[in-house]
């Protein structure tokens, strides 16, 4: 056999091997997630969220909301935060040098007045231009600063926060009233051990939103957005539950996470030199605490819900996914010393290498696999029937995993109540494997290329603002 033949066969074998490994892992995770979510749902009945709410011993939380050019939805976002059910909290909006009317909208919406706010200087940030307090809402603060990026804005918030814990929230995320109570619960239960928790993000496109609350859960009209619903359920519910159970939760969604303030401050705050500041922080926290040999837990809570808008056009989605992948790659690379290093326990020996393999190397293998396999079949080195059979198996396995994730959501949370929507989700989960997934893989590989070429930045994500959802029955025309 020629070199080409050898290469094709080898690539094909690697692809098949990777495929088997990957799906085995996902299957295990699905099993773990099933057990945990079922347990969690049962435990919810006696979770005592009401007690935590009523309890004077519940530690207070500072909510940090970094905002850049969010004039469309900022007032709604802040309103939903102020409406959170939690005994004591403060909301700190950090206006990261917006060039639009964000600050003015805030000033008008909440009757702001300038004050001289005392803040720590532990974490370096871009200069602060001014601070404001609200005449009507004692728990609301606005910090106006020069643009420095999301991480920089968050660091300013960490400096300014009064309370022992903070919750970093995205400007376009809507939190359910009990969301903070539920996501903070692991910390409330074990304040000495749990240092950070993360919640799940659901997709708001298509839901009806009134007064900053999601009042009706529905699937988006856009097919792309619906595909993302399936994907989010699989990635969040199954993936993170699994990782969390193994003590290796790596991604606390930037949209919704609670952290111990002093720990983050002493560990150096958010990094302003990476595009994935949320991932990087969590990895760094794992590393920091393990280096000090301190017992700790970072936990994922499946149900407290934050809703967020996802891109409905391919361009924005591609940019977002490439950014996420870049962030993950940068974070793992920066802390590569933990890889396979016994000093870092399960985290170093298992979590990081797994992430590396599955999330970084995997897409590359997948992408090379497709053409290799097809070429091999075309050139006669692989039997075509074999190829077809294997493809069918691959698609079905993917579908089974997606449907299992849907079932997980369905059995335990039942957010999507309409029968037709459930059917649509099932249909979409089949489609997800035919084209969407491959596209996502392509983007992730491109992201790695970006990293190699050192391209950075956030790009622009078109945002409609969440106070405005498309009218039911109106055609979206996409």
């Amino acid at each position: 056999m020629s070199v080409l033949e050898h290469a094709l066969v080898v690539f094909s074998l690697i692809s098949f091997g990777y495929f088997v490994l990957l799906n085995a892992v996902y299957l295990v995770f699905t099993g773990i997630a099933w057990r945990r979510v079922t347990y969690y749902r049962r435990a919810r009945q006696f979770s005592g969220a009401d007690e935590a709410f009523a309890s004077p011993l519940t530690p207070p939380v500072s909510i940090l909301l970094p905002a850049f050019n969010e004039e469309a939805g900022i007032v709604e976002s802040v309103r939903s935060l102020l409406a959170l059910r939690f005994p004591e909290l403060e909301v700190i909006v950090i206006n990261d040098g917006s060039t639009d009317g964000t600050l003015r909208r805030l000033a008008d919406g909440f009757d702001l007045a300038p004050i001289r706010k005392a803040t720590r200087t532990t974490l370096p940030t871009a200069p602060i231009r001014g601070s404001y307090a609200s005449r009507k809402h004692r728990e609301l603060w606005v910090i106006d600063k020069e643009n420095g990026g999301k991480a920089d804005a968050l660091n300013a918030g960490v400096n300014a926060a009064r309370y022992p814990y903070f919750c970093a929230v995205d400007a376009d995320a809507i939190l359910e009233p009990d969301a903070l109570l539920h996501v903070a619960k692991p910390i409330l239960d074990d304040p000495d051990v749990v240092v950070a928790t993360g919640g799940i993000v659901r997709i708001a496109n298509g839901c009806r939103i009134e007064h900053g609350q999601v009042v009706d859960v529905a699937l988006p009209r856009s097919r792309l957005a619906t595909l993302q619903v399936v994907e989010y359920l699989r990635a969040f519910l199954v993936g993170r539950m699994g990782w969390s159970r193994l003590g290796c939760l790596l991604i606390i969604s930037g949209a919704f996470g609670v952290f111990q303030r002093s720990l983050v401050a002493v560990a150096g705050g958010y990094s302003t030199t990476t595009v994935g500041e949320d991932v990087e922080l969590v990895v760094r926290l794992h590393r920091y605490l393990r280096e000090r040999g301190e017992a700790y837990r970072i936990q994922f809570v499946p149900d407290p819900v934050a809703w967020t808008e996802v891109p409905e056009d391919l361009g924005s989605l591609a940019r977002q996914r490439r950014r996420w992948q870049r962030g993950l790659a940068e974070a793992l690379w920066r802390h590569k010393v933990v890889t396979l290093n016994p000093r870092y326990g399960v985290f170093g020996l298992f979590a990081v290498p797994s992430f590396f393999l599955i999330e970084l190397v995997g897409p590359v293998i997948e992408l090379i696999g497709y053409p290799s396999v097809i070429a091999g079949a075309a050139l006669g080195y692989l039997s075509l029937t074999f190829l077809v059979a294997f493809s069918v198996v691959a698609i079905l396995v993917g579908a089974v995993l997606s449907v299992a994730a849907l079932a997980l959501e369905e059995f335990n949370f039942r957010r999507y109540k309409r029968g037709r929507e459930a059917a649509r989700l099932v249909a979409m989960s089949l489609v997800e494997n035919l084209g969407y997934r491959q596209l996502a893989t392509l983007w992730r590989v491109l992201a790695l290329v970006d990293v190699a070429r050192r391209r950075g930045g956030w790009g622009e994500v078109r945002r409609r603002g969440l106070g405005y959802a498309p009218a039911r029955g109106a055609s979206r025309g996409r």
Binding site: Y39, R42, A43, Q45, F46, G48, E51, A52, A54, S55, P56, L57, T58, A113, P114, I115, R116, K117, A118, T119, R120, A133, R135, R138, R162, K185, L188, D189, D190, P191, D192, V193, S383, T385, F386, A389, F390, V392, V393, L396, V397, A399, V400, V403, A404, L406, A407, E410, F411, R414, G419, A422, V426
Partner: protein, 337 residues
């Protein structure tokens, strides 16, 4: 190889189909069961309300399903009410064998059944559940123990005070649950908490102090004041906080002294307490702390100064120098007056 793959495909397709069918089927059954339950609740609500209100209501014969629905409704009501209403509910549950059934379920092998039983007993106002629940506090499963703690709180069981305070420290139970259990027991728990002050290790005592601050009254001030000089910083800090909660003016002198404590956390709590008490003579010391101390103690002192003496605050803030916490306090006072 092809054949195997063929088999695998077939199996997977079948599996998917099965999953989808189960999903659909379950959704339908759940929806139906939910509708049925809600319907039953609508029908039974007047009966439940009458029961809660007046006690002796002749019960019509109920199907098993309705009986369960009624129990669910009454258990929900039981979590909201006290006094005579709760006693009526308790009589119902006892009289219809629910208590006995839950007590036996507490022996079940499966943890979540035990937890469910422990949880339910809290709403049945049954005194004879107390010893069993106390045993359940030591259950190896955390959720069972938590449910038991909650129920003991609802039943206001004094025997649970000590194990619950210890649970706050050893972390066997979620902290909020132990705390709330103790708070539910209420002021009657105070004598037992006071006993813990003397004999328990410092960490336990610190929590007992906290709870006295929440449940006690002015008569507890003297012994808490003494604790302001305890060797343990935790105890001192919690004592300061408790005195603030009790509004104990007679502790003002000692609290002012605590502003010089070595540990920042104690200074924070002392400042907070002085603010709550409104001790005007503490104003100079608070002003000094607001200017000189680290972030958290200075912040606490400035806020306390607003409550204690706005005049001193304004005067000191106007003095030359950069006093960020004082400036902030002054601005806030002006805006949010």
């Amino acid at each position: 190889m092809i054949d195997e793959l063929g088999w695998v495909s077939g199996a997977l397709a079948l599996l998917s189909l099965l999953l989808v069918c189960t999903l659909a089927g379950r959704r339908v059954t759940l929806a139906r069961a939910e509708r049925r339950r809600l319907g039953a609740e609508e029908r039974l609500r007047p009966l439940a309300l009458a029961l809660v209100d007046g006690g002796s209501v002749p019960l019509p014969p109920l199907t098993a399903h309705d009986s369960r629905a009624l129990a669910v409704v009454l258990a929900r009501y039981a979590r909201q009410v006290n006094g005579a209403a709760l006693a009526y509910i308790g009589d119902f549950f006892e009289g219809h064998g629910h208590v006995a059934r839950e007590l036996s379920r507490l022996e079940d092998r499966r943890a979540w059944r035990r937890a469910s039983a422990a949880h339910a007993l809290g709403g049945m106002a049954s005194e004879r559940a107390i010893p069993v629940l106390l045993k359940a506090l030591a259950d190896p499963d955390r959720d069972v123990a938590a449910a038991a703690a909650r129920s003991l709180g609802r039943l206001r069981a004094l025997e649970a005070v000590e194990p619950l305070v210890y649970a706050l420290v050893d972390g066997r139970l979620p902290r909020a649950v132990s705390a709330q259990g103790l708070l539910s027991i209420g002021p009657e728990a105070v004598p037992r908490l006071r006993d813990l002050l003397a004999e328990a290790p410092a960490q336990v005592a610190a929590f007992a102090v906290d709870l006295i601050g929440l449940l006690g009254d002015a008569t507890n001030a003297p012994e808490l004041t003494v604790l302001l000089r305890d060797t343990s910083a935790e105890v001192r800090a919690h004592a300061a906080r408790a005195l603030g909660r009790l509004g104990a003016e007679e502790a003002a002198d000692e609290l002012r002294r605590a502003l010089d404590d070595r540990i920042p956390f104690v200074r924070v709590n002392a400042a907070h307490a002085l603010g709550a008490i409104g001790d005007v003579s503490a104003a100079p010391a608070l002003a000094r702390q607001a200017r000189m101390d680290g972030f958290d103690p200075a912040e606490a002192a400035a806020r306390a100064l607003v409550r204690v003496s706005p005049q001193v605050l304004e005067a000191v803030a106007a003095e030359p120098g950069n006093w960020p916490h004082l400036d902030q306090a002054v601005d806030l006072a002006r805006i949010q007056a």
